[in-house]
């Protein structure tokens, strides 16, 4: 088991109270697994990803544990996490396009980054060049400034740098969202190739776009309002989901071939609850067409069958 997360709970501090962004997340990722983490904006998916590598100033650890390759990951302790970062756990941040220092050439920036983690650039330079070539970037890229690169090229540079030290876990936060369709496909396929070549052992791909996840992920975890809703293999989620939220979300996605004139899709009425004072019980109950009195009690996130978990009384 590469990664196992147990009851991880992370709140944001705000003036009006704690924002319960990730509440009791429990899941596992196997060696070589690419797990997609999906959900709408504000559901806590990025917070969950970030909490596995670095808490920002407003995030507060509440409870829960994380294990990576059998070793405890001290996510709550900023200093003790340092030896793990970049080497064991790495992240391609959201807005990776602006993650590059505009005043440095790519090569210089990469050198400084490696230096800060105690790795001398010369020891990895041949590998860095090899991987830049692999993702289809020109040889002189290390001498260029970020402004000279297109969005897709920048995204590839950040991908290569983030995974350079062969981390066990790579968190890719919205890596394809800002790209054009054709570039999006090339970058998404590279993620799979990085896993296949063993550059990273396992991966969490965070995006709001379920159709991208269906293309690249082995399993998909759907979050809603800070809680885990459903996790299963990508095929099961798309073809045979059991949580009403997943079902409604999927049925609201227009696909090429579906036309307004022929088949009218429906959205999900209402909006997600406030996470400062979330409702007791299932957080989806106010928008759920199947809600009953039982939903006033929080349904457990439990297996329906091997490899398929969901938090819904109806699905169980």
């Amino acid at each position: 088991m590469s990664l196992s997360v147990d009851d991880l709970t992370v709140y944001y501090q705000s003036l009006r109270g704690d924002v319960k962004a990730v509440d009791g997340a429990t899941f596992e990722i196997a060696d070589g697994e690419i797990m997609g983490l999906a959900g709408e904006s504000g559901c806590g998916k990025s917070t969950l990803g970030k909490s596995l590598i670095r808490f920002d100033a407003r995030m507060r650890y509440v409870r829960g544990g994380v294990e990576l390759d059998g070793k405890e990951l001290p996510v709550w302790d900023d200093a003790r996490m340092n030896p793990f970062r970049f080497k064991q756990v790495s992240i391609i941040p959201q807005y990776a396009l602006s993650a590059l220092n505009p005043t440095r050439r790519i090569g210089k920036m990469a050198g400084e980054l490696l230096e800060s983690r105690g790795v001398h650039v010369d020891t990895v330079l041949p590998e860095l060049r090899r991987r830049l070539k692999l993702v289809g970037l020109p040889q002189d890229i290390l001498e260029r400034f970020p402004i000279e690169l297109s969005g897709g090229m920048k995204q590839r540079v950040v991908m290569v740098l983030s995974s350079l030290l062969d981390p066990s876990l790579l968190i890719a936060d919205e890596v394809t969202s800002a790209l054009d369709v054709s570039t999006q496909r090339a970058v998404a396929e590279l993620l799979v190739e990085f896993r296949d070549r063993g550059f990273v052992k396992s991966m969490i791909v965070i995006t709001h776009d379920l159709s991208v996840l269906y293309q690249v992920a082995d399993s998909i975890l759907v979050m809603y309002a800070g809680k885990l809703a459903e996790k299963a293999s990508a095929d099961t989620i798309v073809e045979d989901s059991r949580h009403p939220y997943t079902q409604l979300l999927l049925s609201s996605l227009p696909e090429v071939g579906v036309r307004y004139a022929e088949r009218r899709l429906k959205g999900i009425p209402g909006r997600p609850p406030s996470l400062i004072d979330p409702p007791i019980g299932c957080r989806f109950k106010a928008r759920c067409p199947f809600a009953t009195d039982q939903c006033d009690e929080q349904p457990p996130f439990c297996p329906l069958e091997p490899g398929h978990d969901a938090a819904c009384w109806k699905a169980a």
Partner: protein, 304 residues
């Protein structure tokens, strides 16, 4: 209703404006009442520039845009105000269309003082309620609120309601649902479908092929400022002729079909679409459109 005739736009770029960047080159199409035309293109294809030229936020550098037979570049003063009474735009980021210091309903008050100063309060109220109902918003829930207290979907719908208050005939919708969540974007899209059935013409600008396919009657595929293919949506999507259109369609992530199932096909398409197609970085010349079948045109030399 709206006609673009060999419309072009070039920008001066570089130090002292020494270089010329052609953003839109010889683009011609028209929008009829009750018709949704989607303008699909990747970043840098000039799709937003076209929208801005129609709204007169940018001047054309070649060709003409005519609305009901009048060249819009000649409009001024009262005529221009009348034009804006008919043609309105809604843009991608709803938050940047509001002034955060004021309540969101200020967009309506400003509209009233500009266009409806003769209306009594109760008449205005009825009109406003009707427009809010058309976009399925509860006036009590949104009117007293500041922009940050409302969701992106609500703000976007208020902007559409604002456009509807004017009884507009043409809406320029520039990526209006790209910022919205999946579960609410389809509602806004259905709203456009409903408005269209009441005779509104819509220019739907998007980078998302599946959204364009869902809502539009006519589709225009843009690449580097030129039209590579246009025609009835069903024809363009079912029978794409230009290699670039084929490549775009093969790249769209879909549920139920995996990319790997058609991997070899794509490699051929990328080669056909030209070197660097995957990065969208290749200069293409404007090629005249030739007819493929009825109501379906593609750039010359596309081949089958």
């Amino acid at each position: 209703m709206l006609q673009l005739d060999t419309c072009s736009k070039s920008f001066r770029v570089g130090a002292f404006g020494t270089k010329e960047l052609i953003a839109v080159r010889d683009v011609s199409f028209d929008v009829r009442p009750g018709e949704v035309v989607s303008l699909i293109g990747e970043s840098g294809s000039g799709k937003s520039t076209i929208g801005k030229m129609i709204l007169r936020l940018l001047r054309t550098t070649g060709g003409a845009i005519t609305y009901e037979g009048t060249d819009i570049s000649t409009l001024g003063g009262r005529k221009l105000k009348e034009y804006y009474g008919d043609v309105q735009g809604v843009f991608q980021d709803p938050f940047s269309s509001y002034n955060p210091i004021f309540k969101a309903s200020r967009v309506f008050t400003m509209l009233r003082s500009e266009y409806f100063s003769g209306l009594s309060s109760s008449e205005w109220r009825t009109k406003l309620d009707k427009a809010m109902e058309a976009v399925s918003l509860e006036p009590a829930e949104v009117l007293g609120q500041y922009p940050h207290q409302l969701s992106g979907g609500q703000l976007q719908r208020m902007l559409i309601a604002r456009a509807l208050l004017l009884d507009i005939r043409l809406l320029i919708a520039d990526e209006i649902i790209s910022m919205l969540d999946a579960s609410t974007r389809i509602d806004v899209l259905n709203l456009l479908g409903e408005l269209k059935s009441h005779g509104l013409g819509i220019l739907f600008i998007t980078h998302d092929l599946s959204l364009g396919n869902y809502i539009s009657d006519e589709t225009i595929i843009l690449r580097r400022g030129t039209i590579v293919e246009r025609g009835a949506t069903t024809k363009v999507f079912d029978n794409p002729v230009h290699p670039y259109t084929k490549m775009l369609l093969a790249s769209v992530p879909q549920l139920h079909t995996r990319w790997s199932d058609a991997a070899e096909e794509l490699e051929g398409l990328v080669a056909a679409a030209g070197d660097g197609a995957m990065d969208g970085h290749v200069e293409v010349e404007a090629r005249p459109l030739v007819q493929v079948e009825e109501d379906h045109f593609a750039a010359n030399g596309a081949g089958r």
